[in-house]
């Protein structure tokens, strides 16, 4: 068994870990980043159409509890983490998302405010090259890249669904560094020109910094606490081929995904309060609205170009979920069913095409991102089954979204025809499927006794252990989480750079 010494160990080379490392390195502090997987370049990802290598250390290590949903949890074990395969949508949370308890008497307030996070949002937007425009919903923005122009659906919907803003997105409208400008491929999770932000295309300089060491194919198996029980003294690692390695350090940052970060604490016996509970993933949802006018689907400079906040804010959040709605520029995905059925029925020719094309052109495709009340039963525990490395699998119990979520969906489906009456709206179809790939909430931030980390993301029972990533979210918001994860990581890195523990 080998032993190493380090100053700070960051567990996970995704966005949440690398931004902490970047801030530490910028202040002259050394850190070692551990990554279970390996480096797969964008070229290789594009060629192989996958995001990570098949390695014993990078096998996904969870199982679903049969009494819950058989949920397709999606995450990447590789250098760059799950930000290798995200789509790039980067809105800030709104100020009210941090204060839902104070404003609406539901869920919990965050232990920090929008105003406190705003400077870090700006830093995150610069780091990620976010395209956006100043807007009335998100105070104090200063986007580094101009916004995408409104797409076809945006222009038709805007008079009916206010407020609508240019969608902040890490799909830049102009080239930045080695990244090309977004080219409107509509396939952002494997961007064909490497425009969409990834750790590899925007933050790879961190790995080359002389004060940063990256150790690939290294699994953090267990955190070891010292005799006082107040500090973590080392992390025990497993490497490819069965090699064991112990790394001693002054500080540790847990920056794996929301399931694995909780799993590592459970494996380490560092269990306090709500550790592992309140797991959440935004359920993929869409509304297809049939109207009798051309919707403008298929026209736009990126996958989505506007955010609709008509159903996001207000007193209604006391009893039903806020919803963020994005017109999906590629249009409705219903054509295949109709086309296949029609051809199978023997139809063909211009009439067939006209029917299918008309339906497609006259259907709005709206992506829905829906909040929910945190559910304590949604949790990560340890399985009795082991992974390929002999570590217990993360056992996940996850239930379908709750009544609060459902009321939010029902309201949107019922209300859209009213708002879009002038366009001849006559049918709204809800489509839902799992796999938001956001993995939030298992090590929540707060000041109460059951919170796992404090407002500085410091573990409440281990003074030199910090958590970065969506795991710390105490509530979820209707917004996509990645930019907030990035802002929190930068804030944490700067805090740690000044922290003497």
């Amino acid at each position: 068994m080998g032993t190493l010494e380090a100053e700070t160990v960051v567990i996970g080379s995704g966005l949440a870990g690398v931004l902490v490392a970047r801030e530490l390195a910028a202040s002259g502090q050394r850190c070692t980043i551990l990554e279970r997987g390996s480096l797969m370049s964008w070229d290789e990802q594009a060629r192989l159409k996958r995001w990570q290598e098949d390695l014993p250390t990078s096998e996904l290590n969870h199982e679903n509890d049969p009494s819950g949903l058989d949920y397709p949890w999606t995450y990447v074990y590789g250098v760059g983490g799950s930000a290798n395969r995200w789509a790039g949508t980067s809105p800030r949370f709104l100020p009210e998302d941090f204060e839902v308890r104070s404003r609406y008497g539901i869920m919990r307030d965050w232990p920090l405010t929008y105003a406190e996070l705003a400077p870090f949002y700006r830093s995150a937007e610069r780091a990620m090259g976010v395209a956006g425009a100043e807007n009335a919903l998100m105070p104090a923005t200063d986007y580094p890249v101009p916004p995408h122009p409104p797409g076809g659906q945006d222009q038709v919907l805007e008079p009916h669904l206010k407020p609508m803003i240019p969608l902040p997105q890490a799909r830049p409208t102009e080239a930045i560094g080695t990244r090309a400008a977004c080219c409107g491929s509509g396939r952002c999770q494997l961007c064909p020109v490497d425009a969409r932000f990834s750790v590899l295309n925007a933050l790879s300089g961190v790995f080359e910094h002389p004060d940063v060491a990256l150790r690939q194919k290294t699994v953090a198996a267990k955190l070891v606490s010292d005799s006082s029980g107040r500090r973590v003294s080392a992390v025990e690692c497993l490497r490819e081929g069965g090699e064991r390695l112990t790394i001693r350090a002054r500080r540790f940052v847990l920056a794996a995904n929301g399931i694995e970060s909780a799993g590592l604490l459970l494996r380490s016996g560092i269990v306090t309060g709500d550790t592992g509970r309140y797991l959440f993933d935004h359920y993929n949802s869409a509304a297809l609205v049939r109207v009798d006018t051309d919707t403008g689907a298929g026209i736009g400079s990126s996958l989505a170009t506007s955010g609709i906040y008509s159903y996001y804010s207000g007193e209604f959040r006391r009893h039903r979920a806020g919803v963020l709605m994005l017109p999906f520029n590629p249009g409705a995905p219903i054509m295949a069913d109709r086309l296949i059925a029609a051809i199978s029925d023997g139809r063909s020719g211009r009439d067939l095409r006209r029917d299918v094309a008309t339906e497609w052109r006259q259907t709005f495709a709206l992506d829905l991102f829906i909040d929910d009340v945190p559910n304590r039963r949604n949790r990560v525990t340890l399985s009795s089954r082991k992974d390929a490395l002999g570590l217990p699998l993360n056992h996940v119990h996850y239930e379908r979204p709750g009544d609060y979520w459902q009321r939010g969906v029902d309201h949107v489906v019922a209300d859209l025809p009213r708002r879009l009456r002038e366009l001849g709206a006559r049918d709204v179809r809800y489509l839902g499927a799992p796999q938001g790939a956001h993995l939030l909430g298992t090590l929540r931030m707060g000041s109460d006794d059951r919170a796992v980390v404090d407002r500085h993301q410091r573990h409440r029972r281990r003074e030199n252990l910090f958590v970065s990533g969506g795991a710390v979210f105490p509530t979820y918001s209707p917004s996509h989480p990645t930019l907030t994860i990035a802002a929190l990581a930068i804030r944490l890195g700067r805090y740690m750079a000044l922290d003497s523990v």
């Binding site: 797409g151 409107g184 491929s185 298929g298 400079s301 296949i340 051809i343 199978s344 094309a357 497609w360």
Partner: protein, 127 residues
């Protein structure tokens, strides 16, 4: 699905199923399969040919898919085949063309949002 030669499949089909009619033989011997796809989808011949070429480039089992589509959409086989089987064959051919994986070309082409059916990574959405 096994790799098959489109030409062999079609020739065999033409020989066994439509022996004497000469009906299928025209697809095997010329390039009119592309025209058949274009006629079925109601697009012009050039667009039909581009869509077929794109599918051929991106699927190793293109031949089997094309043969299935032909079987499900031409006489006399389509009249002799249960609907569920026809639908499966049509889906195997049309499904990839209209899916996200394919880059959205076909829906946009059918809807008249683009005039080219060639696969391309960028400028798929019209600006």
């Amino acid at each position: 699905m096994p790799r098959l030669s489109r030409r062999n499949v079609l020739l065999a089909g033409a020989g066994v199923v439509a022996a004497g009619t000469g009906w299928w033989g025209r697809y095997a011997l010329g390039d009119t399969f592309e025209n058949h796809v274009a006629r079925t989808l109601g697009v012009d011949a050039r667009l039909g040919a581009e869509l077929v070429a794109s599918l051929r480039e991106r699927h190793d089992d293109y031949d089997a898919r094309a043969a299935g589509f032909l079987f499900a959409t031409t006489s006399p086989s389509k009249e002799l085949t249960p609907r569920s089987v026809r639908e499966e064959a049509v889906e195997a051919f049309i499904g990839p063309l209209v899916g996200m994986e394919f880059g959205l070309i076909t829906p946009l082409a059918l809807a008249g949002r683009t005039r080219s059916g060639s696969y391309r990574p960028c400028q798929v959405l019209r600006h």
